[in-house]
Amino acid sequence: MSAVQAKRMKADPSLIVVPYRRVSVAALATNIVLVLLGCFFVLPMLWMIFASLDANPDWAIKLPSLTLTNFADVIGTAGALSSFRSSLILAGATTVVTTVLAVLAAYPLSRMHIPFKRGFMLAILFASGLPVSMLVVPVYQLYVYLGWLDSLYTTALFLAASSLPFAIWLMKNFIDAVPAELEHAAAIDGAGTVRILRQVVLPLTVPGIAVTAIYTFINAWGAFIIPFVLNSNPDDQPGPVEIYNFMGSHGLFKFGDLAVFSLLFSLPVIVLYLFMSRYFSGAFSFSGAVRG
């Protein structure tokens, strides 16, 4: 039932007694089920928060005997800092390359008459669905051949290539939503393509660019298999690989450090998501997307 009707019923229950009672039982059940589901989602996360503050953590959730030594331990180690640096370089470089190329590619795809445009967009959509595990072997071979292994920047280049199709698709939808009349007006006033792009289109698509960039960054920040395979230099492993190695080697003794590290590593993307979600509502209504 709609919110308006709910209000109406609450306002005057004497009017329709029976439906009101039936509805309220359903409403109560709805809320209880949601709280239970909420517990299912919050419990695993809670462990990470409690264990990070606990002097003697184990695998179970328990109220911590409060301490900050875990935080001090992690922040004090060179390994943790360097893996944050590596993640920043990797995700940063990926985001810059992907976003710039996506904006440049999306504009003509949105505005100009390009032969086979529809086929190209379908290919882009199809490409964003291809599993990375299919690309990782040939790319590894290619990187051996080019001598590109073990560098964060070349690894970022492949991350950029693999996130580019979806970024172009996303960016084109944002540019499509900007009315073209403004550009026609600017063109009549004698502005060139570059100038139109810089002074008319870019300012209007800032939210779209922000969403594309943040989305790319969040994915690159969490990327595991690509740096895991392409970059084996122990000095610049990004966060996910570091956490994985930590789980495998001494994670079983240092629950607290592991929890702190993953918590700190998760915070940037949560903050970025909160920032992005303001612009993001509506991005999920693609009911007709299958039909292209």
């Binding site: 589901l37 989602f41 599993p131 299919m134 040939p138 693999s162 580019l164 969490g222 039909r291």
Partner: protein
Amino acid sequence: MLTPALALLGLLFVFPVLYAGYLGFTNLALVGARSRDYSFTGLDNVVRMLGDYVFVKSSWLTLIFVVGSAIVGQSVLGMALALLLRNAVVPIRLIVGSIVIVAWVLPEITVALVWYAFSQAGGTLSILLRHSDTNFLVVVPMLIVSLANLWRNVAFSMLVFSAGLRNLPTEVLEAAEVEGASVWRRYRQVILPLLKPTILTNLLLVTILNLSEFTLIYAMTQGGPGIETMTLPLYVYQEAFVFHQLGYGTAISLVLVLIGAVFSLLFVRAARSQA
């Protein structure tokens, strides 16, 4: 302006895809003589797959994972959450909605870690179920990784369905309500048919995304115990980079693409048939 994007995609996307199409039919190895001196071996890899019980089991596990965790689990729970949240009181809607989304935004490796902790002997799950010496990741590994995956990804379907529900014409819903249709009947006969395009899109995206899931499972189990959670993406990795069989590994990844293509065609056809 398209050129830079096309150049990057050409070098690091189109070329690898085509190259994979070739490597899948070779005996290329990561080290040793076959790493330089490899050759086209026709359908040898395909024949090898058919006789490879790990491959057969791995395909089966992938099917369980995608159908159980993604198609059924994620879609049903996502729909349930979207419907429930619509009718919940505001504080519960905000809090539960946010928690579900945070689970989705967390890096995969973090999800792997918290679910690893959750399912260990002495972990929260074992205490809740009063079997504190049971390591559920060993006893029911496939169930645990599927649950962890469901936990992480359900927000996506929830958001898709919430957007779909928001866009439904309110007149139709109110008409059904005024005519006194029960909640279940309204859902079955009014909401569900109207949402069909959204549901199909969701199924397509969720299937494709989950078919190539690697990090979560690998970080939690490395495919183990034994090969109990060795889905196809993990088997590709193991064959290629642990057993050094790059050619055979690539061949398996082509099967993965093929499965994805078949699912996509089914969903697109279903979407067309009702359009």
